[in-house]
């Protein structure tokens, strides 16, 4: 373990995992935390509750397709929904930097209000702190959320079985490349916008037609490649992914090519990966294609008993290679 925290500890890749297991899980471990799912599922009178928390530190605060407020609501709603819960109540905690424009804060709050209305969740408690100029970056937001777990739904990163179909709900890499283009001032024509969206309505439709769903997860930091690896390790299964089956928007592909990046490692904020019995794939795609957040959904591979813990990518040329977990930050090539 390093002596100090490095930026790579926050990238969602291997160092993030090591930090979580070695620093947090080793000291705070219990039956809920050890599942390492997006939300904890807690027994309570009359059923189960899902409980989750997340923090948002995006720069810039506003970007095509969203802003930090929309991101905060969607992120927590999605973490609850992929855990098989109906998201109901959210908390919001703000850390504001001295000098922030009140108008910007109001824009963020308006966006939170609109997104919460769409996702049908209530913001029921909150907190505000202000720190001196330079001690934060405009706005940091922490959210928590709870939701009722749907009866008879058992989804978890450790439930995936050999033979399952792997489904992605749409084009990958939109959010990460939008932020990168904004942050680096890359002027780029095209339809580049964050995919940031609440997925709970889509997920409810999916669970309706496939209550035997094994696992769902939103591939945020670290991208699709990292999420697939996490689940392969958690469930002790292998995965075979078809490179040409993964939907990528041409503008995202072009920008990735320009910078030497792989869209499979780029963050998404309105996508989910679903692992379901293969015979349910067709009906799942049916309801997904009917939703505005699942229009481009596709089966991208299958779960295998071979190569447990490994994700194998089959290229268009018929060759195969490992699709590894993200190791550090994603970086443009320099040569």
């Amino acid at each position: 373990m390093e002596e100090r925290i490095l930026m790579a500890h926050g990238s969602g890749g291997k160092l993030s995992h090591e930090l979580i297991t070695q620093c947090f899980a080793s000291k705070l471990d219990n039956q809920w935390l050890s599942r390492m799912d997006d939300a904890a599922v807690i027994d309570c009178a009359g059923g189960q509750l899902a409980f989750t928390t997340d923090s948002y530190v995006v720069t810039p605060l506003f970007f095509p397709g969203g802003d930090i407020g929309k991101l905060a609501v969607c992120g927590t709603v999605n973490d609850l929904a992929v855990s098989g819960a109906v998201p109901q109540y959210l908390s919001l905690s703000f850390i504001l930097e001295e000098g922030l424009l009140i108008a910007d804060l109001e824009r963020v709050i308006d966006s939170i209000q609109r997104t919460a209305a769409e996702a049908n969740v209530a913001i029921v408690t909150g907190d505000t702190k202000v720190v001196p100029h330079g001690k934060a970056d405009g706005i940091f937001i922490n959210t928590s959320g709870i939701g009722r777990v749907l009866p008879d739904i058992k989804v978890s990163g450790s439930n995936v079985r050999a033979g399952d179909a792997i489904i992605i709900s749409g084009n990958v890499g939109d959010h990460g490349m939008t932020i990168m283009a904004q942050r680096e001032g890359l002027r780029f024509d095209g339809d580049l916008a964050s995919d940031c969206a609440p997925l709970n309505a889509l997920i409810a439709d999916m669970l309706d037609v496939c209550p035997q769903m094994h696992c769902m997860r939103d591939p945020t930091r670290g991208g699709v490649a990292t999420t697939l690896n996490e689940i392969a390790a958690q469930s002790g299964v292998g995965m075979l992914i078809g490179d040409d089956t993964i939907p990528v928007r041409p503008s995202v592909r072009a920008l990735c090519d320009m910078l030497g990046l792989d869209p499979l490692y780029v963050a998404n904020e309105g996508k989910l990966l679903a692992f379901a019995p293969a015979d349910a794939a067709e009906s799942l795609l049916g309801v997904m294609h009917a939703s505005k957040y699942g229009r481009d959904a596709a089966v991208i591979g299958t779960v295998t008993a071979d190569n447990p813990g490994q994700v194998v990518l089959r290229t268009k040329l018929g060759t195969s290679r490992i699709l590894a977990m993200l190791a550090g930050d994603i970086l443009p090539r320099i040569c």
């Binding site: 490095l6 040329l317 490992i322 320099i334 040569c335």
Partner: protein, 367 residues
């Protein structure tokens, strides 16, 4: 732009080229892909699985981060640790372990190290912090060197006096000569760098054909580009007439980019430079010339370091010279991993070790 790239990823075209390559009557062919980006593409698309067994692909030293000498890494870190300095660098350099620390450790300990995507970002940081010296860590080949030169010329014309460059930029043809003179490995053909050649053209490789009788083809980075280059190299070997050819005509001309070349000779002069694994190679480094000495961090700051020592057991030097393939290094994938690299070839996306590790061929893939 997009349809063109897709053409070069077309699997029918690629597989047709593979058939063509298989039909050629060649003896064992030892081909070196100079560029780390070529190694990455070959592994990413699994091209080695398609090529006949007697076509051997060796990765070369074409990764700017990897070839940066340990002592130069240490000096860059020492410069970043100089109080008051803002160091700007491409992201890949952050994780390279020096003898005593890495830039990311220096940053975690409070040094002002900023990741930039281009020299223009570094100039902007200099404009916003006129009270502090802003040093750009100039690592790269002929591809990035013109943008470094442009930033120096711009800083001079705009009288941006707090901007300077620590130039570790390098030229490729001299190190190719050094490798061939070393005679440690057998090379029949070279896939010459794509982006580098967009700047310098293909003429600078002619000495390789003339003096060593080795086939040369400049290639792009898509599967069809690389397979086309392999086929052209084998054809040259077959007919016994090595020459310099271009399989990347959409980006490279024999003369290269004149304007970029002029900028390079305006700001830099070639000087001996240290390469990891290879040692000092005459005329292989871009040194900032006297007319721009006010922007040369080496002349502006006193850089003191302890003795440089490469990490114990690390065989990056042998990987860079093509003596071994990355998995033959005893540290590979055991101690040396992308998240905690021992040597620079495991750090950079263009490093051979990182490519072999990340795009590893699986057992089921070789069925």
């Amino acid at each position: 732009m997009q349809p063109a790239v897709n053409d070069f990823r077309n699997s029918e075209l690629a597989l047709a080229l593979v058939q063509k390559i298989k039909q050629r009557t060649h003896a064992k062919a030892h081909l070196m892909e100079f560029c780390g980006s070529h190694t990455a593409a070959i592994l990413k698309y699994g091209l080695r699985q398609l090529l006949p067994r007697d076509v051997e692909m060796l990765s070369g030293p074409g990764c700017p981060v990897c070839v940066t000498d340990q002592q130069d890494i240490d000096r860059a870190i020492a410069l970043a640790q100089t109080p008051g300095i803002i160091m700007c660098t491409f992201g890949d350099m952050l994780k390279v372990p020096g003898t005593y620390a890495s830039l990311q450790q220096a940053r975690a300990e409070g040094c002002d190290v900023r990741t930039v995507y281009s020299t223009l970002d570094a100039l902007e940081i200099a404009r916003q912090n006129t009270d502090k010296p802003v040093v750009f860590l100039g690592v790269g080949f002929e591809t990035t060197a013109p943008t470094i030169a442009a930033s120096i010329a711009l800083a001079k014309s705009q009288q941006l006096r707090n901007y300077s460059v620590f130039s570790l930029a390098k030229l490729c043809p001299p190190v190719m000569k050094a490798l061939l003179d070393g005679g440690e490995i057998k090379i029949d053909g070279i896939i010459c760098p794509g982006h580098v050649s967009a700047i310098i053209g293909s003429h600078p490789y002619e000495f390789i054909v003339r003096d060593y009788g080795i086939a040369c083809v400049v290639a792009g980075f898509e599967p069809v580009d690389i397979l086309m280059a392999v086929d052209m190299l084998l054809a040259q070997m077959e007919n016994g007439r090595p020459q310099v050819e271009i399989a990347y005509g959409r980006s490279v001309s024999p003369e290269g980019n004149k304007r970029a070349q002029e900028l390079l000779s305006e700001v830099f002069e070639p000087q001996a430079a240290r390469w990891r694994g290879v040692g000092t190679v005459g005329g292989s480094g871009y040194k900032i010339c006297d007319a721009y000495k006010a922007f040369d961090a080496e002349r502006l700051f006193e850089i003191k370091t302890g003795p440089a020592k490469e990490p114990a057991g690390c065989r990056c030097g042998d990987v860079l010279r093509g003596i071994i393939n990355p998995p033959e290094c005893p540290l590979f994938g055991r101690i040396c991993l992308p998240e905690r690299p021992t040597g620079p070839c495991m750090v950079s996306g263009e490093g051979a070790c990182a490519s072999y590790y990340l795009f590893g061929e699986t057992i089921s893939a070789v069925e």
